[in-house]
Amino acid sequence: MSGQRLQAEAEPELAPAPLSVRGGGHDRAGRVFRWLATGSGVLILAVLAAVAGFLLLEAWPALSASREDLAAISWIPDDGSLLGYVGPLVFGTVLAAILALLLAVPVAIGIALFISHYAPRRLADVLGYLVDLLAAIPSVVYGLWGGLWLAPKLQGVWGWLSDNLGFIPLFEGPAATPPRVMMTVGVVLAVMILPIVTAVSREVFLQTPRLHEEAALALGATRWEMVRMAVLPFGRSGVISASMLGLGRALGETMAVLMILSPGLTYSWALLMAGRHQTIAANIALQFPEANPLGVSALIATGLALFVITLLVNMAARWVVSRRAAFSGAN
């Protein structure tokens, strides 16, 4: 990602040179390409603006509706507060995404390092291919797998956690049967974002300058010390970018959450109890079919909240990456 951006920034400086050499009208292909590229760039902005505009416009009836009107929708709290409805959804969405990230990133870094620096060449190729393959599995399949196969297997683990670590609010028991809980969702989401985080991290680790690595080894570092001193610092911002990509996917994931979670609208930390959490995307998919026009508008308002969260996350990621750019492979 960062590399592409740098290229794009460099382009304006390089582009005029060949044009002036060839002289005005002859480089038609170049100009057409330039307009096409500019057009594509503008199109992205236009689509983004159109989505934002659509969300605002469609959410407006709910945003401006009276509390009485909103309270008439059966799944909105009786006090008719839209904020009171969106709040727990935002909490659940962020909780699920962060949980997935905490579970996935360490494993992803491990796999990426193994592929880039430990595995024999041939095995690394096969592994890399397999990881990419994981990314191609549709989320509804993950949902089915998580709900039907994985959840029953996790029952015992969650029961053990709540029995032995129940004093930690996160593992407060009793663990729900069947385990249609946030913790299960976190595990399945982690599996879903693992490929993207791994793939990007692997590419970044492979970019580590050979000289850095060999210098570390020449100074007597073991392989682990070399990874710690040369590879990880170099790849840090790349890993953060990768994590943010994963976070984006986890935030918006719909089908898997819809199929696994017993939803509820609270600000509970109890990851092992049913009916406590819900995410925005899954909630929209769940309530949309039977919603009346105002209900649809309220759901779109929650979509607007998700849009804002995603923008904030991406901006935060950009900021983190740019702050660390000086020490890393991003430049």
Partner: protein, 372 residues
Amino acid sequence: MKPHRQKFGMIAALGALALTLAACGSDDPTGDATTDPTTDAEQGTSTESLSGDLVGAGASSQESAMAAWVAGFQAANPDVTISYDPVGSGGGRTQFTEGATDFGGTDAALDEDEWALAETRCEPGTAAELPLYISPIAVAFNLPGVDSLNMSAETIAKIFNGEITSWDAPEIADANPDVELPALAITPVNRSDESGTTKNFTEYLAAAAAGAWPHEASGDWPVSGTQSAQGTSGVIQTTQSAEGAITYADASKVGALGTVAVKVGEEYVPYSPEAAAAVVDASPLAEGRAETSLVRELERDTTASGVYPIVLVSYTMACTQYADAETGALVKAFLTYMASEEGQQAAADAAGSAPISADMRAAVMEIVDAIA
């Protein structure tokens, strides 16, 4: 997510088929393939067979039944194409009142505003609501070795409200002296999406369980912190996956789960199509509605013998008059088939619904016959 609009390929019919467009009160609307067109001549009507497209949308509860109706009707009328989009009751009402569909399905009766919109849409005729789909809702549980349990409305309400938490609680044990009940925790499972099944089930609990159910009837489950899943298949799958779980669902979908015989009066009534249809007949028409609206005020707390009170009635919306006479004729023929014994049986076979009674059929046909 939702299956796409189902279109059944036209099935080639053997032999000539003639159907009078204006024939009244025929119990066999699909016609007899050997009917001689000339026999209709005396009525002075066209003898062309039906053709054209009908578009419907609405309640997903009717989906399987509608598929059977469409297949049956199209088999008899190969030039007719009918589609039904199971978008949900809300969407069905909106699309019908906006005139986007020719007919619609809805689990809830049209409210006053919607009825006004529907009347405008159907001008110069009026709208009609016909109870053509009656589906028993079973209370199903996962207890290995137990196929049936007796429960009163109070017991069911307390279980789903989280007040009775163990299967060997005295309320359950006393009603089932012959069953050995395990000391297992009860896990109530409800629908996580807004649904007609939930609305009808909570309506029953609110009406029949007296004070034991402190919540109002609602399409959205009123108790929080529960196990829940999306759709009928979701709650069934969740219940199957956990011993001790109990849920409510369309009776035809409960599979191998045990079911509850509900206390009505002094006896316990297991669900059956006949018992479910009986409660609709035993209930009065809702007051203050148009003559073309056959909405029933279901008597959930009935004490009549042999009646199963937990049912979902899904209505078919149509106009009494269509701007396009051909559409009117098609709707009339299709609804006649849906209401016929054959059509109701087809739905029962496909969707496990309860066929409507002869009295109900007579009332429905009075309205359908007037469609033009």
